[in-house]
Symmetry: none
Subunit: 131 residues, 2 copies
């Protein structure tokens, strides 16, 4: 199903997450289809089941899988991943806001930056439609 790269310095579970996420987004793994069991995939890759468990847990957290205890893990419907991305975006925003506010920046200044980004993106969209 996937192949690990031991020259890659990143942790194994991260590689597993990345590759499975890719397979799901590309449609190679269809929504509601059953994933290999934690133990089966661990066996196939010759690694510990907990490592797969961790990868599956992360994929579930970001909405790519859903779990039925005792039955297995399944690919989530497309709507789930998109809401997961929304969550990630919110966290990114919250982090930036926290930094800005604790540095003393006020709400108006932050909104001014937001508006400037919106205008910049509008212009770029207009230019794109020209080409």
């Amino acid at each position: 199903m996937i192949l690990l790269d031991y020259r890659d310095k990143r942790p194994l579970y991260e590689q597993v997450v990345e590759k499975l996420e890719h397979l799901i987004v590309c449609g190679a793994l269809k929504p509601d289809s059953k994933m290999p069991s934690v133990r089966a995939l661990a066996m196939e890759l010759s690694i510990n089941p907990n490592t797969i468990q961790r990868a599956y847990a992360l994929l579930e957290q970001s909405g790519f899988l859903y779990t039925i205890v005792g039955r297995g893990n399944f690919v989530a419907p497309e709507e789930s991943w998109q809401s997961g991305k929304q969550l990630a975006l919110k966290e990114e925003l919250a982090e930036a806001f926290e930094h800005a506010l604790s540095a003393g920046m006020d709400k108006e200044s932050i909104i001014a930056i937001l508006d400037s980004v919106r205008q910049k993106m509008k212009k770029e969209a207009a230019n794109d439609s020209d080409t």
Copy 2:
């Protein structure tokens, strides 16, 4: 001059950076005034001089201090730090905004998140003053 918190799980040099940065931004340490020597501050805090050295190096990198070898470290003029810090914050915000907007999030949703972060920080500030 500053006080370390050994219950704080962050590294010592990070605490030193944070507290000195705060003293500079608040005006408690005036531009061009001499900072305590690496050894003196280390002695005062009962930690290794290299830890202070590391903190000073980071503060110099972000424009809060300047160094004259053999003479000491000095507080940088306001222009040096304000520009660098503000710029970094603006870039972080702009990046997050760009991601959010291109994913289809609208202005109102973004401002709602900003408000929730502001409220959260107010609460935390209130709790800190209790202890």
